[in-house]
């Protein structure tokens, strides 16, 4: 079974996003970029399936700017077998919308014919939480979002999902799209020898035009601003003082 894993290059998890002074977006120039953390979990899960002998090949795909090559090299260093980069933007500030990403992924999947796609549930830049679901709709495949456990059983997968209220387990027919939540696994760090080996693994480069997909945004971003700030309040010295302040504020 072939597993395809879409990965996105995003602002590093530890970097605080800063809104540009002119309100045109978030400043990404000279900011550390990394693989979207949920996508790392997806890559890890795919590699574990291969290590268990359930999957034969893991293909990582990234859609965005040329620099996403680095993100794919990270996936290869973690253990993906090969990678496909689809260049769809020149400017790092141009985010390709989930609908366009899903259309490109569908075209890649039509060629690659994987039996399973594991994606991160959400990218930590646009926080849309949509690509997996949209891809699943376009393909007419089953979907299992927010997965905390995946078990492949013949022609189906049993997936435990993190939902409001607790956990839900569903069985989806393969081929399927699964999106990874935080508790699915703990991704490995790539070792130095594997980082070196990854440089020799195949990385194909394509463009959105190769797949005939129009990436023109449907949502025009007309402004980006800082959220209303919240000022630090006061320090209380004791529990008694805290209790009296809360009573004054009328919240207890």
């Amino acid at each position: 079974m072939k597993v395809l894993v879409p990965v996105k290059r995003v602002i590093d998890y530890n970097v605080k996003a800063r809104v540009k002074a002119d309100g045109s977006g978030v400043d990404l120039a000279n900011v550390k970029m990394s693989m979207n953390p949920f996508d790392e979990i997806a890559v890890e899960e795919a590699i574990r399936l291969r290590e268990k002998g359930v999957a034969e090949e893991v293909v990582a795909v990234s859609i965005g700017v040329k620099q996403a090559q680095e993100t794919l090299r990270t996936a290869l260093a973690m253990g993906a077998d090969r990678a496909i980069l689809v260049v769809a933007a020149d400017d790092v500030h141009q985010d390709i919308e989930p609908l366009a990403v899903a259309k490109i992924l569908k075209a890649v999947i039509d060629e690659e014919q994987p039996k399973l796609v594991i994606a991160g549930k959400q990218a930590i830049d646009n926080d849309m939480n949509a690509t997996g679901q949209m891809l699943s709709a376009l393909l007419g495949w089953s979907q299992a979002t927010f997965a905390s456990k995946i078990e492949i059983e013949g022609e189906s997968a049993k997936v435990t999902r993190e939902v409001d209220g607790g956990l839900q387990t569903i069985e989806v027919k393969l081929p399927a799209i699964v999106t990874a939540d935080l508790r699915l696994n703990e991704p490995r760090y790539a070792s130095l020898p594997n980082i070196m080996k990854a440089k020799k693994k195949p990385l194909d480069e394509k463009t959105a035009a190769d797949y005939g997909v129009d990436v023109t945004p449907r949502l025009e971003i007309t402004g980006t601003r800082e959220p209303e700030g919240r000022k630090a309040g006061i320090r209380v010295e004791s529990v008694d003082e805290l209790v009296s302040k809360l009573k004054e504020a009328g919240v207890v």
Partner: protein, 308 residues
């Protein structure tokens, strides 16, 4: 202009809080029709009809909608889409599962987690874990969106909308429900609670979370947790507050042993009053807390529980 709103129906019951907050968000856009889909959905429909601002309620009662699987529910919504300009739902995990699928079936972009509705085409939404608020103008003919419920007050009661049965749509039959693990709790639901007490990594263990729960019970509060606490196994996943967990905006939020990572703040910084208890006086949570107490949670929290 007409709005189709997917009511939040779980186990045959309507989540009145989530649904009526979404009604508030969208009622200026046009007549609101609430869709209640479920294996049993009639009681939920009765409740939905009472929400102020709801013009009509559609009931799709069929076993295939029993567990809100994305494929049949999205197919149903897409089949109804022709009559509506806006298709919306409160941003629960069910809606986040279903609505992007609906959008793709209609070849439109989804607008996730809208925190303000500016006009029929223009919406605000938080991005980058709430560190930026983006205004987006949709060029699509139909708008599919989920509503950040913490940003809106619940619509009142007193409506008397008409209720109509509708036929089920074709089920692609791609997935099947196996089971749920839902903890039973007498505490209020996290996203609608007026008070929330959350614990972080500083709590140190699952057993010690009892300290957090005791304070919550004294306050009649829901219990939340930081991602670090959930990842460490101190608290179940559905307690997680933050960018990828639940977004809450209670009257009172008490953060205990939580340092205040960006992604946690994204889920609670709209709370009216924030209390932080942490032994590290440099913890970022103090920068947004109204009342900060530097101290050992294992002594201060039981003391607080006793003195309230």
């Amino acid at each position: 202009m007409a709005v189709l709103l997917l009511g939040e129906v779980t186990g045959g019951e309507l989540s009145v809080d989530a649904t009526s907050k979404a009604v508030t968000a969208v009622k200026a856009l046009g007549d609101v029709t609430v869709l209640c889909a479920g294996a049993s959905a009639r009681d939920a429909a009765q409740e939905a009809a009472k929400i102020d601002g709801v013009a009509r309620v559609l009931v799709a009662e069929d076993a295939r909608y029993g567990h809100r699987l994305a494929e049949p529910t999205a197919a149903l919504i897409a089949s109804l889409a022709g009559d509506y300009d806006h298709i919306v739902a409160p941003a629960t995990t069910d809606a986040k599962n279903i609505m992007p699928r609906v959008a793709a079936l209609l070849d439109v972009m989804v607008i996730s987690d809208a925190s303000a509705i500016i006009d029929a085409d223009t919406f605000e939404r938080p991005v980058y874990a709430g560190n930026a608020i983006q205004t987006v103008k949709s060029k699509d003919a139909k708008k599919v969106l989920t509503i950040r419920t913490a940003s809106f007050d619940a619509a009142g009661q007193g409506g008397a909308a008409s209720i109509e049965d509708i036929a089920a749509a074709e089920d692609p039959a791609l997935s099947a429900w196996v089971g749920d693990e839902f903890a039973k709790s007498d505490r209020p639901e996290l996203t609608s609670a007026g008070r929330v007490v959350s614990g972080g990594r500083g709590v140190g263990s699952k057993d010690d979370f009892a300290i957090i729960e005791a304070l919550a019970d004294k306050l009649g509060a829901a219990v939340g947790a930081s991602r670090a606490a959930v990842d460490s196994g101190y608290a179940p996943n559905d307690w997680q507050v933050g960018q990828t967990g639940k977004v809450v905006a209670p009257e009172l939020y008490v953060a205990v042993g939580i340092s205040g990572a960006i992604q946690h703040l994204a889920g609670m910084k709209d709370s009216k009053v924030i209390v932080a208890i942490n032994k590290d006086e440099e913890a970022p949570i103090f920068q947004i807390a109204d009342y900060g107490l530097v101290g050992d949670l294992f002594t201060t929290v039981p003391e607080l529980t006793e003195k309230l």
